[in-house]
Symmetry: C2
Subunit: 148 residues, 2 copies
DNA sequence: AATGAAACTCGGATCTG
DNA sequence: CAGATCCGAGTTTCATT
């Protein structure tokens, strides 16, 4: 395995995308190979960090119902520290640097609208931030992590 | 089960967040209950769509290395159709309505920078869009779906 | 909570290109 | 040599008690 994946790997990924606990035997039957083959391919995918099988909670079901997207203009010297500061906040789920006027865009997820303002404050307190533009999410219509 | 989850459920979720294929027996040992209990709790979590165990691919490992965030101003009458148009695009992974100047914010994930422009064009062609502001993601520093 | 049958996992030996 | 197959022992699942 050299980092490339083939049709069989994609088949395994497709199966596990639907049900991460599908048995190797079942996958093997569907893809017409032996269970051992699936098992070793699976191990390779996991070892190479191509695939990850994990439990994902539905945020609304556990009471995480509000979110916002925040654009940050930062002092360039402080870029790394701001990212580190954001990364350490539990409610921050996405951080990227971006083209355009703002250097950082981040997304937060919190229980309710009321929790947004305290989160905004926590972020504003990170040293190095020049300007902050907060956009509140109203309704989420798609949120997938199936990139295949 | 009434929609609320207790400490044991959270324990199960915590275990499966690390390894979605951990055996029920193993989880039972870690949490000091019987395997049968874990199995029925698991079923409840799945049935109530609180938890989902799925294979997640590392996008960069499969060659999805570029992304962008797009803000859209749309004709209010066309809001639903625009959302539907976006939802049907494979590369669109996130759609939300937002407060502020733009009504929709969406995120796309594609193999390379070169694929961004064709994706932008596909989006611009959705009827009902008045203005479109594209922000290219440079580096992603955090991208979690563990909200717990 | 315990039992037991059926299904699944997983390592070793073997085969193939 | 990497990767696939066959096979058998050891676990896990899961319905019944």
């Amino acid at each position: 395995m050299n980092g490339q994946i083939d049709e069989l790997d994609r088949g395994i990924i497709r199966c596990l995308s639907k049900d991460g606990r599908m048995s190797f035997t079942e996958i093997a039957t569907q893809l017409n190979v032996t269970e051992k083959t699936i098992r070793s391919r699976y191990k390779n995918l996991i070892d190479h960090e191509i695939l990850q099988v994990v439990g994902v909670v539905n945020p609304t079901a556990i009471g995480v119902k509000a979110g916002a997207i925040i654009e940050l203009m930062v002092e360039l010297m402080a870029l790394e520290q701001v990212i580190e500061g954001l990364r350490n906040l539990r409610e921050v789920r996405f951080i990227t640097t971006t083209s355009g006027k703002y250097q950082i865009m981040t997304q937060i997820a919190v229980p309710s609208q009321d929790d947004l303002s305290s989160s905004f404050k926590r972020i504003r307190d990170i040293p190095g931030i020049i300007e902050m533009n907060s956009i509140i999410q109203l309704n989420v219509y798609k949120n997938t992590f199936q990139y295949i």
